[in-house]
Every structure is written in structure tokens, then in C-alpha cells.
């Protein structure tokens, strides 16, 4: 078996948060015991509600923050032992909001060339040639090369951000909701561009989204995150065909349909997102779970293996596993 390009082993990130004057600090578990493997060339999606720890996981993968415990490996080499610049050569981000991810004081040429400058690659003429090449690759006309971000549309800005991410020829792109800040009409273009670039540059995507329609369209594997933990990780067909975890089912059921006669979807889960400082006992999803039993509030569930992944639920028994 080949070494996975990204491997997370029991990665945990906790924060100490003050609760006010003279009160003890509490521990907030943003990411708790996440284990994932991302194989080369696949699109691995991560879905979950706001506050579930998706963006924290993205920052961990980019090396922007260090995990409290656990290990992240790139091609089998732990990220902690690698130089930050070496990590940057392999993994690049595409952020959610292209209005804040591009320095407003820099021209497109400077923005795209920044990774080359920071890593001291090439002469200024070589850099210019590479920038022009990247603008072609992301479908931007070369005449924007001297433009500033405020003169570009949202879609154009996101293309600049993608060009910047690709100029170092990384292996992995961490896409943190790359289309959610864009107009709907532009979203599909950017997604199609990302898929074309994946073929052209043989990229691996770690794709964070809460748009399940996008995930179903793009992803090979999907991980569902709830309160800092992966509750289900399956192949795309498995997850969208026969979701095993009640939370995954609820997420899929909550997708709006284009037909207004069908009305608002039945979410199937109730209650608000729990406080991550004081998570519920047992299975952290039990207060909102329609299938919760008394056992769920006592015991944290173990992972149940499926042919194409796992789910962490007491009720995702073998019967469901067979069906999945």
C-alpha cells in the first residue's frame, strides 16, 4: 500500500478559555481525537455545522497551529519534524473569502509571485513567466497582472488565490469553503476550475464545505464532523446512499430541494448546537439524536467499521453496516 499523502493520528487541539474574572479556565476541545487518511489524488471532503472544528482542522493541516496531541504526517513524515517552509511547499490553502485572503496593497503579479519570493525561487524574469503561466492555468487574462484586488470581481479574486496556491506546485490544496463567499453564478465555475486543475496538476484536495450538493458532486470520500470529532467517514456513495450516523442522515435530510412545493425539509434533529466547553456526556450527539437510547447518554460509542469507512454510533450496528 502506498503511503497516504496526509495522515492524521488522534489529532487533538484544545484551548484554555477564561470564563471571567476569578473563575477557573475551562478547556475547549476544538478538535478531539481526529484520525483520517487522505490518499494521493483523491478529493476528501469534510462537512459539518459551523463551530464543529472544520476550520481548526484546516489550520492544523496548514501548520498554522500545532496540535495539542496527536500527529499529522505528510507522506509519512510528521509535520512537527518538518520545516514550516517545507510544509508550505507541499500543502497550500485556498481560503473562503477572497476579499480578505488577498493583500489589498499588492498587485496580482506580486500576490501570485509571493510564494516564489518567500522561498527564494527563480530570478525576477523567471517568476514573471511563472506568474503568467499560472494566470493562464486559472483562466485569468494576462492583462489583470498589474491590477489590484479591489479592481477584480469575487470570482477573479478567487482565481488569483488559486493561482497563488498553485505556483509552488504543491501536492495538496486545503480548500476551506472556497465558494461559499462567491455569487452562486460564479461558484460552479470555480468548482469546475478546481476539478480541471486537479487533473492538470495531479492534486489532492482536502475540501471543507457545508454545501452537501457540492460535496456530492466533487468528493471521493466524505468525513462528517460534529463537535470536534469525526462521527462518520465513508466513501461518497456509501455516505450519500446509506448514511449510518443519525447526524449524517439529518444533514442529508436538511438539504433544500429546488422544488418549493416540498416545503422546508424536516431536519430530524432538535435543539441547539451544544456548548463545546461543556459537551454532553456519553455520545456528544445524544441530546439532539432522534434515536438516542439511555445507553447513549452514558457511554461514548466506539467506531463501527463499514466496507468503505466507519461511523461512531451505538446504533450504527452490523445490520446497518450490511445495508451500507
Amino acid at each position: 500500500m502506498t503511503v497516504p499523502v496526509l495522515e492524521l493520528k488522534d489529532v487533538t487541539k484544545t484551548y484554555r478559555v477564561g470564563q471571567g474574572f476569578m473563575k477557573p479556565k475551562a478547556t475547549l476541545t476544538a478538535v478531539g481525537g481526529v484520525s483520517l487518511t487522505v490518499a494521493r489524488g483523491e478529493v476528501h471532503a469534510l462537512v459539518g455545522e459551523s463551530g464543529s472544528g472544520k476550520s481548526t482542522l484546516a489550520k492544523l493541516l496548514l501548520g498554522l497551529i500545532a496540535p495539542t496531541s496527536g500527529e499529522i504526517r505528510i507522506d509519512g513524515v510528521p509535520i512537527g519534524q518538518t520545516d514550516r517552509r517545507e510544509v508550505a511547499r507541499r500543502i497550500q490553502p485556498v481560503f473562503q473569502d477572497p476579499y480578505s485572503s488577498l493583500n489589498p496593497r499588492k498587485s496580482v503579479a506580486d500576490l501570485v509571485a509571493l510564494p516564489l519570493v518567500a522561498h527564494g525561487i527563480g530570478s525576477s524574469a523567471e517568476r514573471q513567466a511563472k506568474v503568467a503561466e499560472m494566470l493562464d492555468a486559472v483562466g485569468l487574462p494576462r492583462r489583470v497582472i498589474d491590477a489590484y484586488p479591489n479592481q477584480l470581481s469575487g470570482g477573479q479574486r478567487q482565481r488569483v488565490a488559486i493561482a497563488r496556491a498553485l505556483v509552488m506546485r504543491p501536492d495538496v490544496l486545503i480548500c476551506d469553503e472556497p465558494t461559499s463567499a462567491l455569487d452562486v453564478s460564479v461558484q460552479a465555475q470555480i468548482l469546475n476550475l478546481l476539478m480541471d486543475l486537479k487533473r492538470e496538476f495531479r492534486l489532492t484536495y482536502f475540501f471543507i464545505s457545508h454545501n452537501l450538493a457540492v460535496v456530492e458532486h466533487l468528493a471521493d470520500r466524505v468525513a462528517v464532523m460534529y463537535l470536534g470529532r469525526i462521527v462518520e467517514e465513508r466513501g461518497r456513495e456509501g455516505l450519500f446512499g446509506a448514511p449510518a450516523h443519525p447526524y449524517s442522515r439529518a444533514l442529508l435530510d436538511s438539504v433544500l430541494t429546488p422544488d418549493p412545493d416540498l416545503g422546508m425539509p424536516e431536519a430530524g434533529i432538535s435543539g441547539a448546537f451544544p456548548n463545546p466547553i461543556a459537551p454532553p456526556s456519553g455520545c456528544t450527539f445524544h441530546p439532539r439524536c432522534p434515536q438516542a437510547t439511555e445507553r447513549c447518554s452514558r457511554e461514548a460509542p466506539a467506531s463501527v467499521a463499514f466496507a468503505d469507512g466507519f461511523a461512531t454510533c451505538h446504533n450504527a450496528g452490523p445490520a446497518l453496516a450490511l445495508a451500507g
Partner: protein, 307 residues
């Protein structure tokens, strides 16, 4: 969403939208500045005073130090006894007043600029470090700022003058080492805003060093408010120098400082009011020009939504 990918990533039609004419931030800044009256008036007056200071020997034939006891306290040309020979008159030692005014502009500008350079470097470095690194660094720097704010400037200048003697260098050093508080406070809050932007996270994920992030990502984005602070502090420093020189703790005679000219003229102010009025007007116009320029800059560099 389910549509197949287009045949090529090379030419999606929507990316070929019209691009507005390219104008760098600098070009847009100059266009807006040209339409701002307070900026233009301030810049013009300041430019005149700077030109006076730079080309002083070409503007007046007199030496500001040349005394002529026989021609003391000649009034300016608009007085009955005035003459075009000394069109702003002479002081109590018979020195040409216009020459002293022109050379005095050098002292005022030198003090204003040198103080702002020294205090700007100190304050910006502290403020950016506090705002960017946060946490304990920020707490320590906040403490230093508070300590500085607890020190009265004139009192420190007085102590310094008593310790090492008053001179031009002492004034610049004392003011430069004391007037950095606003730079620090403004740089800190501006940096804190910028530091949370995604482009800083992007720069870090790209592998930029902290030095590069601070210098090329943070600094250009906090420069506008700092330039405004610099103009205000320059006016502040020029006024403080005049005040210190007036008290005899600043620039020492025979240097032609405007504050010193007022101090030397105060015994004649009842019968020769122009001795005080002329350097006073010069000082007021310089400070007014710098303040107008600062106000103009603030408006010109403000985001589009403000006036």
C-alpha cells in the same frame, strides 16, 4: 452543480470580464488628494516653508548671525520708519529678521522631522510587535506605554537640560524618545485588525518568515493612519521645541529658532510688537499647515464610504 466540467480551464468566458483601468493605490491617492482643499492648502504652505528652509542662502543675502549694533530694532517695511533694506526689520542686536526667520525654519523643520523619525520608529516597532504577537508581548508593551504616558514631557526635558545642558541635539533626543506613544497606540490597534485578516494566514501558510509578513504584509496596510499620526506629532514637536526654547531649555542662542526669537523679543513687545508677531505668525502657519495636511491625509486615505 452536476454539469460536466468545461473542456478546458484555459478560457472560461466569465473570467474575461472587463477590468477597470489599472490604477495603483498611489495613483488613486494622488487623484483624491488633488480634490481635497485642506490637503492642498496644507501641502502648499508646507512646501513654501520647506523651500524657504532649503534655499535660505538664495532667498536672503543676510547672514542670520551678522550683528550691526547701529541698526538695532529697525521696524518692518510697513512701518513709517521701515525700509526695504531690512524688510522685516532687525532684532535687538541688529540682525536681519527675515534672515533669522528663514534660517529658523530649518531648525523647526529639522526638529519636527528628526523627532518624528525617532519617535515613529520606536512607536511603530513597539505597536506592531504588541499588535502582531499579542499575549504577553502585548501586555509588556502596554505597560511600557503606560509608563511613558505617566511622564510629563516638559519636566523630562527640563531634567535633561539640567543634566547634560540644553542644545539642539538634546531637544531632538528628548522629544524623539518621548513622543512615540501615539504611534505605538495607533500602530497596535491597526496591526491587530490586519493580523486577523486571511491574507496574513495565507502568507504564513505560504511559508513567509515573520519578518517578511510584518514588513511586506502588515506594514503597508497600517501605513495610512501612521502617516496621519506623523503629521500631528510633527506639529506637536515643533510647538514643544518653541515652548522649550522660550523657557530657555531648548535651542540656545545664537541659533535662529522661532521659539527663541519670541523669547528674545518679549522684552520689546510693548513698543515693537512685530518682534514677537513675525515669528509667532510663522510658527502658527507652519503648525496650521501641517495639521491641515494631516486632516487632509486622513480624509483622503479613509475608506470610500467616509465623506
Amino acid at each position: 452543480m452536476t454539469a460536466p466540467a468545461p473542456s478546458s480551464a484555459l478560457a472560461p468566458a466569465a473570467a474575461l470580464e472587463a477590468v477597470p483601468p489599472r490604477r495603483s493605490p498611489t495613483a488613486r491617492f494622488l487623484r483624491r488628494a488633488g480634490r481635497n482643499p485642506s490637503f492642498m492648502i496644507g501641502a502648499t504652505v508646507l512646501a513654501i516653508i520647506v523651500a524657504m528652509a532649503l534655499f535660505a542662502p538664495l532667498i536672503t543675502a543676510y547672514d542670520p548671525y551678522d550683528q550691526d549694533i547701529a541698526r538695532r530694532l529697525i521696524p518692518p517695511v510697513w512701518h513709517a520708519k521701515g525700509s526695504w533694506e531690512h524688510w522685516l526689520g532687525t532684532d535687538k542686536l541688529g540682525r536681519d529678521y527675515f534672515a533669522r526667520l528663514v534660517y529658523g525654519a530649518r531648525i523647526s523643520l529639522l526638529i519636527g522631522i528628526a523627532t518624528v523619525v525617532v519617535s515613529g520608529l520606536i512607536g511603530t516597532a513597539l505597536g506592531v510587535a504588541g499588535g502582531y504577537f499579542g499575549g504577553r508581548v502585548d501586555m509588556a508593551i502596554g505597560y511600557v506605554v503606560n509608563v511613558r504616558l505617566a511622564l510629563p514631557v516638559v519636566l523630562i526635558a527640563l531634567a535633561a537640560a539640567a543634566l547634560v545642558g540644553s542644545s539642539l541635539e538634546t531637544v531632538i533626543l528628548v522629544l524623539g524618545l518621548l513622543l512615540w506613544d501615539r504611534f505605538a497606540v495607533v500602530a497596535r490597534s491597526a496591526t491587530m485588525q490586519v493580523a486577523h485578516a486571511d491574507y496574513i494566514a495565507a502568507a504564513r501558510a505560504i511559508g513567509c518568515s515573520t519578518r517578511r509578513i510584518v514588513l511586506s504584509e502588515v506594514m503597508p496596510n497600517i501605513l495610512n493612519p501612521l502617516i496621519v499620526v506623523a503629521t500631528l506629532e510633527m506639529a506637536h514637536a515643533i510647538l514643544l521645541e518653541a515652548a522649550l526654547s522660550f523657557l530657555g531649555l531648548g535651542v540656545q542662542p545664537p541659533l535662529p529658532s522661532w521659539g527663541l526669537m519670541i523669547a528674545e523679543g518679549k522684552q520689546f513687545m510693548f513698543f515693537s510688537a512685530w518682534v514677537i508677531a513675525i515669528p509667532g505668525v510663522a510658527l502658527a502657519s507652519l503648525v496650521l499647515a501641517i495639521n491641515l495636511l494631516g486632516d487632509g491625509l486622513r480624509d483622503v486615505t479613509a475608506p470610500e464610504n467616509r465623506s
